[in-house]
Amino acid sequence: MANLNVIEAVRFYVRRMIEDCHDNIKGLIMDKETASIVSMIYAQSELLQKEVFLFERIDSTGQKSLKSLSAICFIRPTEENLETLVRELHDPKYGSYYIYFSNFLQTNAIKTLADADEFACVRVIQEFYADYLAINPHVYSLNIPTTYHKYYEWNDSVFHRTVQGLVSLIFSLRSRNIIIRFQKSSNMARTLADQIYSTVKTQTDSIASNINDTSQTIVLIVDRREDAITPLMNQWTYQAMVHELIGIKNNRVNLSQVPGIKKELEEVIMNAEHDEFYETNLYSNFGDIATNIKALMEDFQEKHKNQSKLESISDMKTFVETYPQFKKLSGTVSKHVTIVSELSRLVGLYNLLEVSEIEQNLVCQSDHNDIVQKIKRLIHDDKVRREDILRILCLYALRYEHQSNNELNALKNEAQNRQRLSEKNIHFIPALLNYGGQKFRQTNLFNIQTPLAITRQFIRGLRGVDNVYAQHVPLIKDLLEQLLRGKLKDTFYPNVNAKDQINPNNRNSANQLQQQGQIIKPSEIIVYTIGGITYEESLHVHMMNKQGARIILGGSYVHNFSSFIDEVMAGAS
């Protein structure tokens, strides 16, 4: 059974746009957001082969008309874009227009556009619901860096964008029967769930045709505040690590800070769709990637009878530089060698192995005294970055929030005395406690008491830890496990549709089923995290999907520690 794939879903739309335009010379007109949506899934060269010769922003100026060119406009239905489009149609640059909106249009928009189209050059107007960034087959993002505003509430424009994005995702996957479960403790989750429910309900009738489709989709809406730990941790799988240490933005990685970087590698594109090595190693452990690159190079060496040994990453780097053929042969590999060597440099430079081990123990073990000693040692280690000390202190603050022998202040003072904690960062710790402290959380994040967690720890104790750096399991995985087993409590994660139960016309028989205590078997689960996801969570969902689950994970943003700090601070003010 084919898993739904968000990358494929967006590709379908873009492909259809281009195929429906039969003219020879095409141009793709986008706005800022749709441009990133398209760039996530198509390389420009790929579109070029479909005779798309021009890539333009809708707001770009320039009078010269190109009447022989057909413009495929893929834009979001914002006021601003509509105004620009109306102006454009009054004085058209291109010969014909194929207009695709990425979301619902206001009813009067059609009339406004029709009146503007004096030259009758509009051929098509459609809504194509590709209003989100498809990052991996099972991961999407709405690219909203800060969701929270003033005391962790919605702001209108962000709320509107979120509803649009999530509904478009639901429609692009052809899900029509949805059950929405949301995190009860979060007002934002509740408001969002209600709005999604009513929007989908009103829009479905005019869009979806296949009533016989019995498939059920569960939409789980959670709030990042329930699990503030995951974005604080250092990561050791490739994609997560690159994002944490260097930063991935719309599949682009900026390497200009890397010492001695070559001009052509200052900004590289990391897209698993076009990069086989990246695709296979997305979820590999740091150690494995190096081994894989090494294997690839040794294979090449064998062919070219080169005997020099490849012992370290720097050996590999020199090797790539001295063998231009190899560079050509495996174009992308040189990019990955650069990145992996940079990662390994940073790991050594900042003592990240030690930091990460303490992070993991802090979250998953429970020896308080031991941890405090280790943290103190870390504060005195000059190799450790300030931000890593902040990570540790944050984790400590969350973990021992209400412990009587809490030594947070002592640790804070010590860090300050050693000048390892900046002014801004001191404010972050209380902000974080306010953001994701115990007061807000409804479940125990360090759920040491739950039976599941006890067994897990027991097994861990027995088997030993596979990898000390991957002990932490994000909360979302537990939630999904519970959801699948029908054990996710309605008191914590209620169902939006439950309110409609009285309605006799409700054709959603699943509600009744659920009432009778039966577990619904969904065709897929869509997770939306208010406040963003992390690549660590993506990794765990990927693992579940590999074992037959059909889960699509997404959120407002894909966070790393630094973007997470910004988000938390934005909500606190």
């Binding site: 009447k67 060119l69 194509f128 052809r174 019995t214 030993g464 074992q547």
Partner: protein, 496 residues
């Protein structure tokens, strides 16, 4: 870094004393020996119970990523009607095109009624019949104009409707010749007859010189205000004109823009690109034929001649050259940017990007063809291939002949029609000699059955279905005969 990973503390660390054990067994032994002894027997019982439980729980943790289990699948629907069992389809789409076109049509119809009405009036006003006065200020002319468009009574109009200034001696009342409304002189527009004619029949009459080359497409250059120099000139030039109001001017301007839109000259790039498209079409057509031709030449077939292939190859390479040279020319156009204002940097960037992308596309097309097009083989190659093929055919014939001779010498069974037929068609079954030896001891009838069965088997292998059929018929007859014989034999023994 590789060394660094080697330092990682992983493996079997005892949960109690954090001692590092190298294997699972060692840890188990260690745990049982040291820690279990300390604990009471109830814990021990618990432990073994937990051990059983662990077995079932264990798989559910991804700590064991190597295990390729599918244990989540059970939680998902596997219904046949379920959309998830089908391959993913394009997501939902909502089309507004029909509604849009309806709205647009309504709007356009309204405009076109208005425009047509004005154009009809213009046509009458500017028509140059003999008895129609042209001089704008004569009474006859005014009468003629008023016959076509009724002028409104200007006695009650005190303000100019467009600029709202009151009329006076210096600000006199005028009438729009197209709808009869009152306007003041500064608000009037003047439509020259020549331009009016162009509006009515853009295809036959061309715009007077100088006007078609105006920078903007605006009609204001066409009927300019009195303040405008050119208009004054026009008026003094004695060219006939019509005084019109702003709203009529707007309608006519729209008409003018539309004419311009339809008649815009195509950029050179697009004309060039069309050549590429054409050439590519030919390439796409010829290429498959060419490929099969080369293929057949290389295996020594005589269906095509080298000359044919060479002819096609020449055609291919002309197309190839055409694409190459045209696209090169286009990429040169990128730098020249004809007809674009120098200040309009955006347009320049756009234009050159377009040209460069076309060139890249062309290069890509060429590369694809270059890879998949094989050169015409040389005379020698073909000759060799043909000789080889001839040799192969001769060899086959030779071996067939030899086999036939062998068969003829070995088997006296040539009287079977089926066998004869086989020989004619160049396929022949062989007889297993062991089988023959064995068969010789048998009844001749049985012997024949054996042989025919063997033929059938071989015929089946060779895929000669019709022969299999006929052989089967033979076999049946033989079996019948054999049965009869045996029955007779049985009967005779029974009798005795």
């Amino acid at each position: 870094m590789l060394q660094a990973v080697g330092d990682v503390r992983e493996g079997f660390i005892c949960p109690q004393c954090h001692q590092d054990m190298s294997t699972m067994e060692m840890l188990q032994v260690h745990f049982q020996d040291i820690h279990m002894k300390q604990s009471s027997s109830t814990v021990k019982g618990l432990f073994s119970f937990a051990k059983q439980k662990i077995k079932s729980v264990q798989d559910n943790f991804t700590n064991i990523p190597n295990e390729q289990t599918n244990n989540y699948a059970q939680y998902f629907s596997s219904d046949q009607n379920d959309s998830s069992s089908k391959p993913q389809q394009i997501g939902y789409i909502r089309s507004y095109t029909d509604r849009f076109k309806k709205e647009r049509k309504a709007q356009h119809d309204q405009i076109s009624i208005e425009t047509t009405r004005l154009l009809l009036r213009i046509e009458k006003l500017i028509s140059t019949g003999e008895n129609i006065p042209k001089n704008a200020n004569t009474k006859e002319r005014r009468k003629y104009e008023q016959d076509i468009v009724e002028w409104i009574d200007d006695t009650k109009v005190t303000l100019c409707p467009s600029c709202a200034k009151s009329f006076s001696l210096s600000r006199r009342k005028h009438h729009c010749r197209l709808d009869g409304f009152v306007i003041c002189d500064p608000c009037s527009r003047f439509l020259l007859f020549s331009k009016a004619r162009y509006l009515i029949e853009p295809s036959t009459s061309s715009l007077p010189n100088g006007l078609s080359l105006q920078h903007s497409n605006s009609l204001t250059s066409l009927n300019s205000t009195t303040a405008d120099d050119s208009a004054c000139k026009d008026r003094t030039n004695n060219e006939d004109y019509l005084r019109i109001c702003l709203s009529c001017q707007k309608v006519l301007q729209r008409r003018y823009d539309q004419i311009c839109f339809k008649n815009t000259q195509r950029d050179e790039v697009f004309v060039c690109y069309e050549k590429i498209v054409e050439a590519k079409k030919i390439l796409d057509e010829i290429h498959p034929t060419y490929s099969t031709m080369i293929e057949s030449l290389l295996i020594g077939d005589t269906k095509y001649q080298i000359v044919d292939a060479q002819k096609l190859y020449r055609q291919l390479s002309t197309c190839y050259d055409k694409i190459d040279s045209t696209s090169k020319y286009i990429s040169k156009l990128a730098d020249s940017c004809l007809n674009i204002d120098e200040d309009d940097t955006q347009s320049i960037i756009r234009y050159s990007a377009l040209c460069r992308n076309m060139r890249m596309y062309a290069i890509h097309v060429l590369q694809n063809f270059a890879i998949s097009t094989r050169r015409v083989p040389s005379e020698d190659d073909v000759k060799r291939a043909r000789e080889e093929r001839k040799r192969l055919i001769e060899e086959r014939i030779e071996s067939e002949r030899a086999a036939k001779a062998e068969l003829a010498s070995r088997i006296p069974l040539t009287d079977s029609p089926a066998v004869k037929k086989k020989e004619v068609s160049g396929w022949r079954p062989t007889i297993d000699r062991n089988l023959l030896v064995q068969a010789q001891e048998l009844n001749p009838l049985v012997q024949q059955v054996y042989q025919v069965t063997e033929y059938i088997r071989q015929a089946q292998i060779a895929g000669r279905l019709d022969e299999v059929e006929s052989l089967k018929l033979n076999l049946k007859e033989l079996e019948q005969a054999l049965n009869n014989a045996q029955q007779q034999e049985n009967v005779s023994t029974f009798d005795s």
